[in-house]
């Protein structure tokens, strides 16, 4: 089984703050895989359905379905969980003030934070795992085969703990994470695929929750990152929160209503704020019109100039990292040949203006690259990297990505200062070897505190882990010579090995990661341990195939009640009935592929009928009925391109 799985497809996943996507290489083109609903974007939202009346575990939904629960049951929905990945309890308390969900009440300092969702609790990697599992299933449904290996993208500026948390989430979802790729680098890969360009490019990636800037040199198919910088807590979310706070303040001032005690009303305002933000990318003004719990209406117009002014402070925070990245790469803005825009927030005109000024683009007769959809480009690049890793593709065999570590790695030295051992922007994998000794006669332990960051004092850096070197043979102080090798791997994650050189003994290392789950914890959180098994996969495919068959059969059962049915020729009607009977009999069997084929046959047979129904619906609407009423008359999903069409299979 292992060998056959290794031959399976490697998919590329963009696990985003707002939306997530899965993509793969179709021949020489990266393509996004749509979900059952036909949408490329899976909102990174996870909801817990109410406990079923008969008891048992409540169902967990992901994506658009989960997002719809946000207004009705906000306390059972989690979103933007990427902002919580790999972070400690203290860091989250402030962050969570604006979210409808909360930390578990019995949370202990030092442990990985758990989010209270209805009656259950989840760590951030577990919540991400649900999103990943949905993407995995979408891909499996698309390929009609198991998918067990993936490349997942992370913000370039993610630290060790945030990367490890993302990898843990993949494992919980039943995915072997072959590589974590930095998002801006992935975007550069997607853009670099069809252009054998040489030069220096800057990728400005302003997404839902994170900001990254990366500067790369392209040469002979090698994408060599020169420097990277960013802010893992800066994104479109901050703009939403800003608008939300202003609206909540005004509602309190003008209407005397404190919405903070009405979580679903807050979510309604938040939704309106997001819609206004999106509208302002194309329109000169947007309107708020929200009904308040007391029956009042909160109405407000936001002209674009006011919006631009409001968000200026947020956008300005992207300028510093850009300047630092240029300085670290040892170049000036004028030496950047191309700028690539990534992330939904780069649709904001003020953001584009800022980028234009920062890199002096229009002055030099240049424009930023926006040809690829900024929401999809990272996933497309992840698919390219997945193709590189699978090693069997002509398209990508000449391509190679050389990325860097975004933060310096250091060891806490005497007096709490940091001794840097690997500088930021070092190409990874990178390593450093340090020697330690004892300070007291007979000492058998040496403790090492590893930190990440650019500050002078360890206390101001991000604590990564404490290593306890144990089992050192008792010797006079200063005599043992313990060699510790620090290695940052191609995922940007630290590995440590140690040995005592004089005695030749391998020193034991006990690692206490400052933030993060232990191996055992991750193991216990694997979503369903059978998710990988072939048998279980076949079972799931069968269930899904039967469900899809059921959907179209129900629609066909109702067909004779529709006026469109009478418009079909006898031959067309017979064709539908034969295909229906064939599907009914196939559905009794255990062959998922046969059921899907029969479903497709019936789908083709009913195509003409569906067209007639659409026409009827449109003319009904023209005759004065609303589309909604027409919908009710004609059954659900009349607005789909083909009323009965299941999503296409490959």
């Amino acid at each position: 089984m292992k060998a056959s799985m290794a031959e399976g497809r490697v998919v590329g996943i963009d696990l985003g703050t707002t939306n997530s996507l899965v993509a793969y290489m179709e021949g020489s083109t990266p393509v996004v895989i749509p979900g059952v609903d036909g949408s490329n974007l899976v909102p990174s939202v996870v909801a817990l359905d109410p406990i079923p009346p008969e008891g048992g575990r409540p169902t967990i939904t992901v994506g658009n379905t989960a997002r719809r629960s946000l207004i009705e049951t906000p306390e059972r929905v989690v979103y933007s969980v990427k902002r919580l990945m790999g972070r400690g309890m203290e860091e989250l308390t402030e962050e969570l003030k604006l979210f409808p969900f909360h930390l578990a009440a019995d949370a202990q300092p030092g442990e990985v934070p758990r989010i209270q969702l209805g009656e259950m609790q989840f760590t951030p990697p577990e919540i991400s795992a649900y999103v990943l599992r949905q993407l995995k299933r979408n891909a499996e449904r698309f390929f009609n085969a198991p998918v067990t290996q993936a490349v997942i993208t992370v913000p370039a500026y993610f630290n060790d703990a945030q990367r490890q948390a993302t990898k843990d989430a993949g494992r919980m979802a039943g995915l072997e994470v072959l590589r974590l790729v930095n998002e801006p680098t992935a975007a550069a890969l997607a853009y670099g695929l069809d252009r054998a360009k040489e030069g220096t490019i800057a990728v400005y990636d302003f997404g839902g929750g994170t900001f990254d800037i990366s500067i790369l040199k392209l040469r002979d198919g090698i994408f060599e990152v020169q420097s990277t910088n960013g802010d893992t807590h800066l994104g479109g979310d901050d703009i939403d929160n800003l608008l939300l706070m202003i609206a909540l303040g005004e509602i309190f001032a003008e209407h005397g209503v404190d919405l903070r005690s009405h979580p679903s009303a807050v979510q309604a305002v938040r939704k309106a704020a997001i819609e206004a933000k999106i509208l302002l990318s194309t329109e000169q003004a947007a309107h708020f019109d929200i009904e308040l719990p007391n029956g009042d209406r909160y109405q407000r117009e936001i002209p674009r100039e006011v919006f631009d002014m409001l968000i200026e402070s947020v956008l300005e925070r992207t300028a510093g990292p850009c300047k630092q990245a240029l300085a670290d790469a040892g170049i000036t803005a004028e030496q950047i040949d191309e700028v690539v825009l990534v992330g939904g927030s780069t649709r904001i005109p003020a953001v584009r203006q800022l980028v234009n000024d920062l890199f002096q683009l229009s002055k030099r007769g240049k424009r930023p690259h926006t040809e690829l959809n900024p929401d999809e480009v990272v996933a497309l690049g992840a698919a390219v990297q997945a193709d590189i890793l699978s090693g069997a593709s002509k398209t990508t065999e000449e391509m190679l990505l050389l990325d860097v570590t975004p933060l310096s790695l250091g060891i806490e030295a005497l007096g709490g200062t940091v001794a840097r051992i690997i500088q930021r922007n070092s190409t990874i994998p990178a390593s450093a070897t340090e020697h330690f000794t004892t300070g007291v006669d007979g000492q058998t332990n040496v403790a090492i505190h590893v930190v990440q960051g650019e500050r002078e004092l360890a206390a101001d850096c991000r604590s990564l882990a404490r290593f306890d070197l144990k089992g050192i043979p008792p010797m006079s102080a200063g005599l043992p010579r313990i060699e510790v090798k620090f290695l940052i791997d191609a995922d940007g994650i630290l590995q440590v090995t140690a040995r005592e050189q004089r005695s030749g003994l391998a020193a034991q290392i006990e690692v206490k990661a400052t933030y993060g789950l232990t191996d055992e914890q991750v193991e216990s959180m694997i979503l369903d341990s059978f998710d990988n098994a072939e048998a279980d996969f076949a079972k799931r495919l069968l269930i899904e195939a039967r469900n899809e068959a059921e959907t179209i059969l129900t629609a066909v059962e109702r067909a004779p009640q529709s006026a469109a049915w009478a418009l079909l020729t006898d031959e067309e009607r017979t064709k539908v009935l034969v295909a229906r009977d064939y599907l009914i009999s196939t559905k009794q069997g255990e062959d998922a592929a046969a059921i899907r084929e029969a479903t497709l046959l019936l789908d083709h047979a009913t195509r003409r009928f569906a067209e007639l129904m659409m026409e009827a619906a449109v003319s009904t609407a023209i005759r004065g009925k609303t589309m909604d009423a027409a919908n009710e008359e004609l059954g659900e999903a009349v607005t789909a391109p083909h009323a009965m069409a299941p999503a296409e299979f490959k």
Binding site: L389, I428, P429, A430, S431, D489, A490
Partner: protein
Amino acid sequence: MFKVLDNAVPVACWSCSIGHNDSTLFCPHCAKIQPPPGGDYFSVFGLQPALHLDLPALEHEFHKLSRKLHPDRFARALENEKEWSLADTALLNDAYRTLKEPIRRTEYLLKLVGTEMGAPPESKAEKVARVPADLLEEVFDLNMQLDEMRMNRKTGEADPLLEASLKEARQKYSEMLESVDRDLRIQWQSWDTGDVATRPASQKKMVALLDRRRYLSNLVRDVNEVLGA
């Protein structure tokens, strides 16, 4: 004097079991990746230790080796191949990072040949002790000016005369830095073309030049910080 690679000791390839010289990254017989070789950073690129390097050629070789060694090329390989690809690539990256940058390269070579180098000064007293004798007086004045300027920055006071004087100092120390770099290049030349008899003298000069350079670049950095440029 150098850590000479011992070509006489063959190592059996883990894959084909045929003995090979331990400084290869790939087995010359079966072409499988090998554990990190024991040589120095120069030998990774097939070079002898030298201070003048052909940088475009070095970059070309770095790219060529990266293509062959990088973990991306071993994503679906055996576990030991994965591990060695990671270790070999880390060595390649560390070597390239060190050798492409002239100062790091010089420091590395001096360490390689066993030249004692002054560790970066830790205490303030040590810093004072390290001030190059010819600069002692000026640096004392400069530090006073820097302190004054920092105070001005805090209080928002403008002192065009002080600023001009600091800019002048920056100009002066930057020029001194350039002159140190010129002297360093001369020493590179004499080391590269020298032999066992002449090299220790240039090594000693380079150590002194690197010390002076470190001191001057810290000065320039401090002035830049205060001037905010």
